[in-house]
């Protein structure tokens, strides 16, 4: 569960990226975050990840107020959420398998657990056959699947995606969104910041729209634009 209470973020440059945001995303929900470029979507996500600190307000994640979370506790907060980005962020000198296993080493998983979990999550994203390949041998869609597998391998309670389909053609983008939907069906909370109007309109999920830092719309089963 994610709750924003009167959250504002003003960068040191003076830019008001988020202005008094209030919303709750319940456990198991699927929510789109939409808005034009520079409206504040990525900032909102960075606030959830505690990559940025809010200027004012409180952010409650899984029942815990993260406002005064100690720096050395941040890694443990991040283990409860998987993240994917537009640019995949895979390690080029590691295989698909290693890229995913990497995330498990970091949380000090046992070798046995790693050997069991990695193939399972690779099969979930449909990449079992390409485990030994390197990122530069994969298509963009496949690379994003690897990133998804890495985000999911430690069983986070929520998955946060910042424009996960921004670099993909429409068909591949749709496949990735369907995969996100499937992940959501398995119980993971999913939050997706996106510009993909067609997909948002088709999926009929909750839409939070942000404009110049203000949350201007929050539809339970919305489309990309308010008229839909």
């Amino acid at each position: 569960m994610i709750e924003f209470r009167n959250v504002s973020k003003t960068y040191i440059t003076g830019t008001e990226a988020v202005n008094n945001a209030n919303f709750v995303i319940e456990k198991g929900e699927f929510a789109f975050l939409v808005g034009s470029s520079g409206s504040g979507k990525s900032t909102l996500i960075k606030l959830i990840l505690k990559e940025e600190e809010p200027t004012s307000g409180n952010i409650i994640i899984n029942g815990k107020d993260t406002t005064f979370l100690k720096k050395n506790r941040i890694p443990y907060l991040r283990r409860s959420m998987g993240v994917v980005f537009q640019d995949f962020r895979l390690l080029p000198d590691k295989t698909v398998y290693e890229n995913v296993a990497f995330a498990m080493y970091i949380v000090k998983a046992t070798p046995k657990h790693i050997r069991r979990q990695v193939p399972m999550v690779l099969s979930l994203v449909g990449l079992s056959a390409k485990a030994k390949m390197y990122p530069n041998e994969l298509s963009g869609g496949e690379q994003q699947r690897v990133a998804l597998a890495r985000a999911l391998v430690n069983n986070p309670s929520m998955l946060i995606a910042d424009e996960p389909t921004g670099n993909l053609d429409p068909d591949t983008a749709w496949d990735i969104m369907m995969l996100l939907n499937e992940i959501n069906m398995r119980g993971t909370t999913v939050i997706v910041a996106t510009h993909a109007k067609d997909i948002v309109d088709r999926m009929k999920k909750r839409v939070i729209q942000i404009d110049k830092g203000n949350i201007v719309r929050d539809d339970k089963k919305g489309g990309y634009d308010s008229e839909v």
Binding site: P75, V83, R89, F102, I106, V107, K108, R150, N154
Partner: protein, 300 residues
């Protein structure tokens, strides 16, 4: 589970070493040179203090008694001097012995002294010290003990002071040199690790998103610094050892060394200490150097 994490972190550290070959090699070279320079001075100071020990062993002073002081009084004083702290040995030399020695020194012409009825040379104690720094203090106490029966104390005070100053100087110099080399090596290592961290900043940012703790992120780089330190230590001890064993035999046979009766410390006797110093240095510098360079990167 522990084993797995540790082997992973060490594996990553080794990977770092090979990933940045250029900066690894330059750091290794500098570290190695620092260690060799230190090693040379370490060996020098070990040998000099060895030489000084043999010289020191003979250092002390002689206590001369007034002519006519009774033998009981002299042996009583001898017992008292023995109990003083810092005394290594005390030897009685009678006036007669001194005279004989003197005569021997004169050789042929010494026979001229044969006719002398009465011994004009006083009885004496030759005192050697185990601790040269107590020299003055002991001389004062001896003066008090002997009291009115003292003719004079003869000692090589100036030589003692010089020996002690040389020893102190070399020890201080080696220490200062060590400090400078340590600082230098830390700067070099931290620079290398900085490059390594920079080369892997993408990986570090991913690690952070996945929830890696700072200490987990830091370890491979500390391992990298340690590996450079250990390898430098191994090469340095090898080169210094081989070099020393190659030079010393020739040096021992040289005229000056023979004349001065200088003996060199065998490398094996210094090996353990040098090895320990090298490894503590290598590992310590590796850890400190990499910790310094990580500090900036791990903020936020």
């Amino acid at each position: 589970m522990k084993y797995n994490v540790i082997s992973y972190l060490i594996g990553e550290g080794i990977r770092n070493v090979f990933k940045n070959k250029k900066s690894t090699i330059s750091a290794l070279t500098v570290m190695f040179l620092c260690m060799v320079i230190f090693g040379i001075f370490f060996i020098l100071s070990e040998n000099i203090s060895n030489i000084m020990n043999t010289v020191e062993e003979a250092q002390g002073f002689s206590v001369f008694f007034n002519l006519g002081t009774s033998q009981e009084r002299i042996s009583d004083v001898g017992e008292q001097i023995k109990t003083l702290e810092g005394i290594k040995n005390i030897e009685f030399i009678s006036g007669e012995e001194s005279l004989n020695e003197y005569k021997e020194g004169l050789g042929e012409r010494g026979s001229a002294l044969n006719g002398m009825e009465e011994n004009f040379l006083p009885d004496a104690y030759k005192v050697t010290l185990s601790d040269l720094s107590l020299n003055e203090q002991i001389q004062q106490k001896v003066t008090e003990i002997v009291g009115d029966d003292l003719e004079e104390i003869v000692s090589g005070d100036d030589e003692i002071a010089i020996i002690m100053n040389i020893g102190k100087g070399i020890r201080i110099f080696t220490l200062v040199l060590l400090m400078i080399l340590i600082l230098f090596a830390i700067v070099i290592i931290s620079n290398t690790i900085k490059l390594s961290v920079h080369a892997r900043r993408k990986e570090i940012s991913i690690m952070k998103y996945v929830g890696a703790t700072n200490s987990f992120i830091r370890w491979p780089f500390i391992v990298e610094g340690m590996i450079i330190g250990i390898v430098a230590a191994l090469i340095a001890v090898l080169i210094v050892g081989l070099g020393y064993n190659a030079i010393i035999p020739g040096l021992s046979e040289s005229n000056i060394v023979q004349k001065l009766e200088i003996t060199f410390v065998s490398f094996n006797d210094m090996f353990n200490l040098l090895m320990i110093v090298y490894f503590v240095l290598g590992i310590g510098i590796g850890i400190i150097g990499s910790s310094i360079s990580m500090k900036k990167y791990l903020e936020v």
